[in-house]
């Protein structure tokens, strides 16, 4: 229980300036990017040092009070949704860059540093930080770590987990530990690999060592229009079949193209689908492969091909893509961002089902994808003012997830499970699979105070009867079995 004595002790740890207890101020932290899930924390703290985080967590541990870490609150699965009887640990003041080590291609930052800031710091030296979520201007490295965030360029360069070398973390009992380091392959279990992507349920991260990448010699970006998403999808398959791994292949459909045009005028053609393909690497490699990409596009009846002549044009194409979510606000009063994954070869089949669902439900569904790795972002449009539409939108979004699972895909490619999809977990994982994940959870957090009610389905969240377990297509295909 958080009482005045507890608050006084919190204040002693973080100072009066670091404690938020005022009800109206606490409202700021009521939700993350998933606005439909709201809950006001009992208190919020804004620590400035790892010692303060430790102090807060230790206090919570002593009193079995839940705590939730929050970065910039841009998460889209309710991962940073506060606990009504708990402390919200807001990491925004821990936003210093601690060390830049160009010879070793490393940077050490506090978790509150923004994603894009990392690249800004090292750009003068010819380096960048590869994972580039569309929210990179406004999301923190701590949040990226917790969600194992991806971005358009993850097809070639991997996700956050491939770029984090080490962390300092406060365990749920207040112990400070180090995982990984500046050097590779620290001996021991790869706990870093499981802490990344654990959605703030295992520890609070207080320091991060990231790997930097060298700017490639050449970058070429192409935008191509297609008369159908099928044709665009075939072009993607042909690129992969040709043995080319572009830095990015992104697809947008008519709805999202129009929204982006309305919002930021990137100059996209008014087509059924556009593909953005980017190649990077050594000059001669990029030139050769770029010709192959152009041929693949032509073979699939692409038109309106634009090749970025310079950084400004390239920036404009990417602005159109990265604005796609926010731009939906231009064409619909409300929208729900879904995040599901399918094997990329099933793209046409799944898109057809989404189309049919759009017709059946009467709700517009825009589609943007990281097409290269099969990560779909259907945007389900609705109007909150119309009775029942919000619920319908949620049902439609859930149904799309079931299409993903039907073809052996995943509930989430980058936004996480959080509070949003916890009740869907039994559709993808058996009780045994979830119990195995719980072994990790209880090793770190036996009292269940570190971001509780996220990621795992609980009777409290999902009702007494969790969703029926359906065989994963892997099993039906005889590729996997379970007891």
């Amino acid at each position: 229980m958080i009482d005045s004595e507890f608050l006084a002790r919190l204040e002693r740890i973080v100072g009066a300036d670091g404690l938020v207890r005022d009800e109206s101020e606490l409202l700021t932290y009521e939700s993350d990017g998933l606005m439909s899930h709201r809950s006001r924390p009992a208190a919020a703290v804004l620590p400035e040092t790892a010692e303060q985080v430790q102090g807060v967590v230790r206090l919570c541990h002593q009193h079995t009070v839940p705590f939730v870490a929050r970065g910039q609150g841009t998460g889209l699965s309710g991962g940073a949704l506060p606990h009504p009887e708990g402390v919200l640990i807001v990491m925004t003041r821990m936003n210093r860059v601690l060390a830049i080590d160009i010879p070793n291609q490393r940077i050490t930052v506090q978790p509150g540093v923004m994603n894009l800031e990392v690249t800004r710091q090292v750009a003068p030296d010819g380096y960048y930080y590869a994972p580039d979520p569309s929210s990179q201007v406004i999301c923190s490295i701590g949040g990226n770590l917790a969600e194992n965030s991806g971005g358009a360029h993850c097809l070639k360069y991997g996700f956050t987990v491939h770029h984090v070398l080490g962390v300092e973390a406060v365990l749920p009992d207040g112990e400070l530990i180090h995982l990984g380091g500046e050097a590779l392959d620290s001996p021991g279990l790869d706990l870093l690999g499981v802490v990344v992507g654990s959605e703030g349920t295992l520890a609070v991260i207080t320091k991060v060592i990231l790997r930097l990448c060298r700017r490639p010699q050449a970058v070429r970006t192409l935008l191509a229009a297609f008369d159908s998403t099928d044709a665009a999808g075939n072009a993607v398959s042909d690129v992969i079949a040709a043995g080319i791994i572009p830095a990015a292949i992104e697809m947008m459909d008519r709805t999202t193209i129009r929204a982006a045009e309305a919002a930021v005028q990137p100059g996209f053609p008014d087509a059924e689908a556009v593909l953005i393909v980017e190649l990077d690497g050594p000059q001669s490699e990029v030139e050769t492969l770029f010709e192959q990409i152009e041929r693949v596009c032509a073979r699939n009846q692409a038109w309106g091909v634009q090749v970025a002549a310079d950084d400004a044009q390239r920036g404009r194409i990417w602005m159109g893509r990265k604005a796609a979510f926010a731009a939906m606000g231009r064409v619909s009063p409300n929208y729900y961002v879904q995040d599901g994954v399918i094997p990329r070869s099933t793209l046409p089949e799944v898109l057809r089902r989404v189309r049919a669902l759009e017709e059946r439900s009467g709700l517009t569904i825009g589609n943007v994808f990281h097409a290269g790795d099969g990560n779909l972002h259907p945007l389900v449009c609705y109007d909150d003012a119309v009775e029942g539409q919000a619920e319908l939108a949620e049902q439609v979004a859930s149904e799309i997830l079931s299409y993903c699972l039907d073809v052996g895909g995943s509930l989430t490619g980058e936004h996480g499970i959080g509070s949003d999809k916890a009740c869907h977990m039994p559709k993808m994982f058996s009780d045994d699979d979830l119990a195995t994940m719980q072994l990790v959870r209880v090793a770190f957090d036996p009292d269940g105070i570190c971001n509780p009610d996220k990621l795992f389905p609980t009777p409290r969240l999902c009702g007494e009867v969790p969703g029926p377990y359906r065989a994963h297509p892997l099993e039906t295909a005889g590729l996997a079995t379970r007891m």
Binding site: F159, D185, S186, L191, G193, V194, D373, G374, M483
Partner: protein, 429 residues
């Protein structure tokens, strides 16, 4: 460690009856692990059998050591006794190659080369090239997170794994991840098991993201007069934004191999540039192709890992920018202790393998001196292939740091009775 009283033959019969199949047998001479003979050997053919075997072992307090191809079974400390040797060699095959998705699911007992022979049909491969790829199995490679020169570009198993089926010590079969390359649903238990040296569960199958085979390959072989030239050369390549798939060094004598795999024109052009740069750094360099190229790589692999090479093998990890000073230390400490040595490794990543010959106390002094150079997180010295004398003096892993208690707790939760590979997991788990 528990040892059971029943004579081995009775246990074999008992287990076969229980599994309703002849999967258990008495050990053959080749089944010893660092000279220790297991009580019995089991060779299951299905995950359900692995499950039953582990449940039985845990219930009856028996210890289990898992063997893939047996290429790394000599890593780690010598076990005091082994009740059950679980061989995965009968669980073989590429279960699915989804070439349009660039993924494949492979049973743990499949060798890497057998795996890649199947994937080659679609000009793809599992981009790992650890030593002993002919006999090393997928399960063993994943369990040890082992990799080779191409790690420079493609990464290690932990970077390529996207899903796993595993059997826990209590016999429960569980899955993690899936078959898609991008997936953040739930904890990444597959990654946790990767590099866990069989201490948390038995890997039954694994799913990986694959790479397309490149059109062309060139290797630049550079001979330098001294080790100090390597690091500036690596920095020079990086400054040019060259994209080698492997960037290796070997000493003594000082030789670097830089591989470019791409389309023909790009591989050739990058190789030429790498030669010019090497000459500017005082090296003599040439571009190798075809048989010369594969021959140079075979010799490079054999420099430390050759089957005919005796001696201790250490994995020494340092910061990439500390490469020169680490190489100097290796040479100085080896000389001081009258040891012969050979090094190969990833010059761009700071991951080195050192083979040592000489007296036990000399090798122990070498390990201790080198470990003392590294602050936590800045480098490590792990004993890979060793003998009981050395590991009793310096252990296998060296300091783990402040995360050891939580690692122990994870081990305790996964394997509360200490059934799986006891004492041989990372950090002595």
């Amino acid at each position: 460690m528990t040892t059971t009283n029943a004579p081995p033959s009775e246990t074999v019969a008992d287990l076969n009856a229980r599994l309703d199949e002849r999967v258990a047998r008495p050990p053959a001479p080749t089944d010893t692990v660092q000279g220790v003979r297991p009580q019995l050997v089991v060779e299951p053919t299905a995950p359900e059998q692995v499950s039953q075997i582990l449940a039985w072992a845990t219930e009856t307090g028996r210890t289990v050591i898992v063997r893939g191809g047996g290429t790394k079974i000599g890593w780690g400390p010598t076990p005091s006794s082994i009740d059950v040797l679980l061989s995965m060699s009968e669980m073989r095959g590429v279960q699915a190659h989804r070439h349009g998705d660039l993924t494949a699911t492979v049973l743990a007992g499949t060798t890497l080369s057998a795996t890649n022979a199947v994937l080659a049909e679609h000009r793809q491969w599992l981009a790992l090239d650890p030593p002993d790829g002919e006999s090393a199995t997928i399960g063993g490679i994943v369990a040890t997170n082992d990799s080779g020169p191409r790690r420079h570009w493609h990464g290690a198993p932990r970077d390529l794994i996207i899903g796993m089926t595993l059997v826990r010590a209590d016999g429960v079969i569980a899955h993690s991840g899936g078959i898609v390359v991008k997936n953040v649903a739930g904890y990444d238990v597959a990654r946790l098991l990767t590099g866990s040296f069989g201490s948390l569960g038995v890997i039954v199958s694994a799913t990986f993201k694959l790479a397309p085979r490149a059109d062309a390959s060139r290797t630049v072989a550079v001979d330098f007069p001294e080790t100090g030239r390597c690091a500036p050369y690596v920095a020079g390549l990086l400054a040019q934004a060259a994209m080698p798939t492997a960037l290796e060094l070997a000493v003594p004598p000082v030789r670097m191999l830089v591989r470019f795999e791409s389309v023909e024109v790009a591989a050739a052009q990058q190789a030429r540039q790498a030669v010019t740069l090497a000459e500017q750094h005082g090296g003599s360099a040439s571009v190798l192709t075809a048989d010369d190229e594969s021959g140079a790589w075979r010799a490079h692999d054999a420099h430390v890992f050759g089957a005919d090479r005796e001696g201790t093998i250490l994995k020494v990890v340092t910061l990439p920018a500390e490469l020169s000073s680490t190489l100097e230390q290796i040479s100085e400490v080896a000389q001081a202790n009258q040891l012969e040595y050979a090094v190969t490794g990833r010059a761009g990543l700071g991951v080195l393998f050192v083979r040592l010959h000489g007296s036990g106390p000399g090798r122990a002094a070498f390990v201790t001196a080198l470990r003392a150079q590294f602050r936590p997180g800045q480098g490590s010295v792990v004993v890979r292939r060793a003998d009981p004398e050395l590991t009793s003096l310096v252990g296998v892993w060296g300091p783990i740091g402040d995360s050891l208690p939580i690692m122990r707790e994870v081990k305790r939760r996964f394997d509360p009775t200490g059934t799986l590979n006891p004492g041989r997991g990372p950090g002595g788990l």
